[in-house]
Symmetry: C3
């Protein structure tokens, strides 16, 4: 159940799953983007290292998808994302300079421990990204929201469906999925064929939000 | 073996196990409290969200138990605990404003990483809470005390008996136990019957301190 | 593949494995040191608590080995290591005062989360120690270097050979090995016989650097 007008809902236009594109992109990203949209996964993040793709992605998909920039590490990176027209920006770090550089653009700072998440939420208008959420084990999905009940959490990492489900059930506002949908093999980082991508997206259909 | 006059021993009157009541309390908390006392578990923590219970708990048990307030997140929360007559206050966070708000009342700040624990210990007169300790795996009970030999540690989380034992054996001053004793099922958060609670307390009898 | 002139390569003279001596030392440390050198493991760290051994170790091995001091927790500790002639200093913590006390001596600050590693790298001329790296699970060896591509990482902990391999493969500049080589049993902390130490060192031969 979502409270209306939350910072994260607003930034993601109600989506609860952010699909993060791999560093270096996917060769057939236009096909991949169409599959994601058809399956209702409308919030995407391009890693800061693939910022050159942003104008084209926005031109083709910018009206149908929320396209953010993730993995930004410094204020310059935030400014580049703002200048490129990103819909939101995320970082694994929390820094006042990054938040300031974002200006009016929704900025989601990151952290890992309860202290870091509390610090990030103070910068991020009450919202923070837990990253890399997969590293902390699935028990953290239950523990962290209970420790910091006032924070809007977005759990990001190589999260399988069941882990996304645990985080959302425990009150996280959204999840950020790295690798699992778009890549066939974690180590080889090979992109999935459109059919396989569609099949994986359908497994996430119950989580996708409105 | 306990060094006399440690900050934690003082705050907990020599107890080595803090039993944390669940958020929202336990329906038969008077019966639960009597069982805990009979089994020698005399240090309790009420979560900040259940602060309204504090006056009654203190009136009934305040002479026989050490009753603290846990999960406090800000200076206002600390002040409420002080005003309510708590015997000690704990937080998953470390903030100079929280420590200051505690004044003379024993305050145990929290952290998770070695850096955070070192920072917390500086605020907490040499003592810090490791929270959520269960998330870091049992190897951390051995690694952390060796990295920070000068810090009085209190490991807090959903800790089973063997995990409490590992932390205390490795030099932690005390452990904070969430859920495991008072609740029958982690997910359903249903309170244990007095007989079951007593049975579980007896499993912890060897750890309870003096 | 190593980029020449990195801070860590420079500090460790090209070694990729730092062997950390146990707190309290090893009785036959002269024999142990000879075995390490014969097997090509030429970067060592003495924990700050064993600083009294440093002059003798340097007198015997200082021309053939890089001998650092690890587990330093404060600026005084750093100054003692500098005064004792250590070749480098490491800490599980990151503090500007520690970095300043190191002066021209290579200082490797530590952290655990991405935020802490980013903070440490800012102090440590682009390099940081991940400690205790074993606690975060082996997935972290892949995730952390991808999140912070600009940081020279040294992963330190009770790392088995396969874990060292994962970190180095993923781009870590070096690893710090506690216990695994020199000690036969993690709990009993008994030193390995020279033959057993040699056998273990040979397992690490493929990682040792130039």
């Amino acid at each position: 159940m979502m409270t209306p007008m939350s910072f994260v809902d607003d930034a993601l236009a109600g989506c609860r799953v952010i699909v993060e594109f791999p560093e270096g992109g996917v060769a057939d990203w236009i096909v991949a983007g169409e599959v994601l949209l058809q399956e209702g996964l409308r919030a995407w993040a391009l890693p800061a290292g693939s910022l050159t793709l942003l104008p084209e992605v926005l031109a083709l998909f910018g009206r149908r998808a929320r396209v953010g920039v993730s993995r930004v590490l410094d204020a310059d990176g935030v400014r580049s994302a703002v200048a490129g027209g990103a819909h939101f920006v995320t970082s694994p770090l929390a820094g006042a300079d990054l938040a300031e550089a974002a200006g009016a653009l929704p900025f989601l700072p990151g952290g890992l421990t309860p202290q870091e998440i509390a610090d990030a939420a103070r910068l991020g208008r009450g919202a923070a990204q837990v990253v890399p959420a997969d590293i902390m084990g699935s028990g953290y999905s239950r523990t962290l929201p209970a420790l910091l009940p006032g924070v809007e959490l977005v759990a990001t990492g190589r999260l399988e469906h069941y882990q996304c489900d645990l985080w959302l059930e425990a009150g996280a506002r959204a999840v950020g999925v790295q690798g699992v949908l778009l890549l066939s093999e974690e180590h080889d980082a090979q992109a999935n064929e459109p059919g396989e991508l569609r099949r994986r997206c359908q497994q996430f259909a119950d989580l996708k939000g409105n």
